[in-house]
């Protein structure tokens, strides 16, 4: 029992409620949201330290003992993801100050951001499958509002599609939970895992349920063939919202796949892992084709989300210790670097007024800091050592080769060069070249105020890569319960 586990959910909840009361006072809203985000980072840091020292922490809500009440569980994986979520939340809030506009700020923008963070952190923390559905809905409800806030024509149009897709996938989630409940008779994730492991013969229906869960989380996480809604929907909201979606929402789907597949569906029958692996590889290929094909900088980065999802899931599908370490490494790296990249192209769009790569060039002459920050972020995404993308991808591919999955690993190696090309394309055509056009001056786009949070997150990601040795002990602790689900089950159900 540790009340610390619930704090990263409570801090933004409190902030969100307070923010509603200051809807018309933008300055107060900014202070409150930045302060609460900062407090939440500190809370998450303390949580990570606590988990690293004392092992998996849990909290039985209302003191109902573990299998009966709702349990919140913080193992290393969820603690690390909570920490990265809070960091991204903080950076996005700082970036919003100068870019989101008064009109949106007055219509509960900061409050909804906090609700979004509650949903994401809740989904990472919960140890109860139905509670996970509820936190998914909190997250989705906030994302519907963030997508439509501002009410431009294209936002409304894409919101309708996004809503339809997610309403269907939520219904599937309920169906999957209902069927799982009829098989195992419990909702506590640890106990579900325990009961499925103790079965002598796995009934075929469990494979069906696993596929249902894969559809639900795959729809959120944008794996092939369920990614179709993502490029359209993510392109329409304002930049900070886009960064928040790109960095967090899909990763919740991936986390849920990791959690359910290692804890519940770790049985050998049913070819589940082969299916996941094939889907992951196709996802990588589709993502990389999209990111090369487009000349719209938003779409390039959006398709890179899909590629990254594929790489992470490939590591999960191979499911050895090395590949899972790589996946977790890459998951956190991708959250940080995707947020940075979205904010960077947001700045480019602010400066040039267009997202079409063919319409601007030579930005490096007047905006050198922006250019070099982008350069580092791009190299990091491509996986150039010693930056953060390298370690994760290397371990994932190494795990793949060790498990004799040569084709998939080769595809990931080849596509990572294409990923690098797709982001360097922006650097070559956008930053180099003739600087003959007149762009908005630095004062008008509040250059430094926007660049500061981006540099912050890029520096964090550089340290994450350079200090991989130090981070590795945390990641190793995060992977342990994924390899041996008994550790997780015992930590939740003991006492």
């Amino acid at each position: 029992m540790n009340n610390l586990v619930v704090l990263p959910i409570l801090v933004p909840l409190l902030a969100a409620v307070i923010l509603i009361f200051f809807a018309k006072n933008v300055i107060v809203q900014r202070y409150i949201s930045a302060l609460s985000a900062l407090i939440n980072i500190i809370v998450a840091l303390i949580l990570v330290r606590e988990v690293s020292e004392k092992g998996i922490q849990k909290l039985d809500i209302g003191s109902w003992p573990a299998p009966f009440g709702i349990t919140l569980v913080s193992d290393m994986l969820s603690a690390l993801l909570v920490l990265s979520t809070t960091i991204i939340g903080f950076v996005v809030i700082l970036y919003s100050f100068k870019s989101i506009g008064k009109q949106r700020e007055k219509f509960y923008y900061y409050s909804i951001i906090q609700f979004q963070i509650i949903g994401v952190i809740g989904a990472f923390t919960t140890g109860d499958i139905f509670n996970m559905f509820v936190f998914f809905e909190v997250m989705l409800m906030a994302s519907y509002v963030l997508l439509v806030i501002g009410g431009t024509k294209r936002q409304l149009r894409e919101s309708l599609k996004y809503l339809t897709v997610n309403v269907i996938s939520s219904a599937f989630f309920v169906i999957a939970i209902a069927m799982l409940y009829s098989v195992v008779g419990t909702l506590n994730m640890a106990q579900i895992g325990e009961r499925i492991t103790s079965l002598n013969e796995v009934p075929g229906i469990l494979t069906v349920i696993a596929v249902l869960f894969l559809i639900v989380f795959g729809m959120k996480g944008a794996i092939f063939p369920l990614y179709f809604w993502l490029p359209g929907s993510y392109a329409v909201p304002p930049i900070p919202v886009m960064a928040l979606f790109g960095a967090l929402l899909t990763k919740v789907g991936v986390y849920s796949i990791i959690r359910t597949f290692t804890l519940f569906f770790n049985f050998e029958q049913g070819h589940l892992y082969e299916m996941l692996m094939i889907l992951a590889i196709i996802t990588v290929i589709i993502g990389v084709i999209g990111s090369i094909a487009y000349w719209d900088i938003k779409q390039i980065i959006i398709y890179n989300i899909i590629t990254a999802i594929g790489v992470i899931l490939y590591g999960v599908a191979v499911s050895t210790e090395t590949s899972l370490t790589g996946s977790v490494f890459y998951l956190i790296h991708d959250m940080l670097i995707k947020a940075a990249l979205f904010l960077l192209i947001g700045m480019i769009i602010h400066i040039t007024g267009t997202s079409n790569l063919r319409k601007f060039s030579g930005l490096i002459k007047h905006y050198p800091t922006l250019a070099w920050t982008y350069f580092i972020a791009a190299l990091s995404l491509g996986g150039i050592p010693p930056l953060s993308g390298f370690v994760g991808k290397m371990l994932t591919v190494q795990g793949g080769f060790e498990a004799n999955e040569f084709i998939g690993s080769m595809i990931i190696l080849i596509t990572s060069i294409l990923v690098l090309y797709s982001v360097m394309k922006i650097f070559i055509f956008g930053f180099w070249g003739k600087a003959d056009q007149m762009y908005v001056s630095k004062e008008n786009v509040s250059y430094h105020a926007l660049l500061m949070p981006i540099i912050l997150i890029v520096v964090i990601s550089v340290f994450y890569g350079v200090g991989a040795e130090a981070v590795h002990s945390f990641i190793a602790q995060a992977v342990e319960p994924l390899i041996n689900p008994e550790i997780y089950i015992e930590a939740v159900l003991k006492e």
Partner: protein
């Protein structure tokens, strides 16, 4: 009883799927309602129908019906109620702004039109 429920759930899902495939936003919203009704009935059926006494604490040791599915349905109904309300509001706003409720006319984004 279970078979009857299964048929009802199947009919609800089939109707929802049919309506989801239509072009009018309003029909899609009705479809989402029907789909969640089907899902809720599925939870009820999966928890077991009419198996025991009222789920109150009793000394006699009579087996009771599982109360958990009902709690789950209550939560899921509230959520789908909220989502449907938001869906209707956004659909209405979109109709005002775009002048159409036909999904076919909402294709693409500005970049690739």
């Amino acid at each position: 009883m279970e078979i009857l429920m299964a048929i009802i759930i199947g009919v609800l899902f089939a109707t929802a799927t049919y309506l989801f495939l239509s072009k009018s936003i309003l029909r899609i919203i009705i479809a989402s309602g029907l789909l969640s009704h089907g899902a809720h009935l599925l939870i009820l059926t999966m928890g077991g129908l009419k198996k025991g006494a009222v789920p109150l604490v009793n000394d006699i040791g009579v087996s009771v019906t599982d109360p958990l599915p009902q709690a789950l349905i209550l939560t899921a109904i509230v959520i789908s109620f909220g989502v449907t309300a938001l869906f209707l509001v956004i659909a209405y706003r979109a109709y005002q702004e775009l002048g159409t409720d036909n999904i076919d006319k909402m294709r693409g984004t500005e970049e690739n039109e």
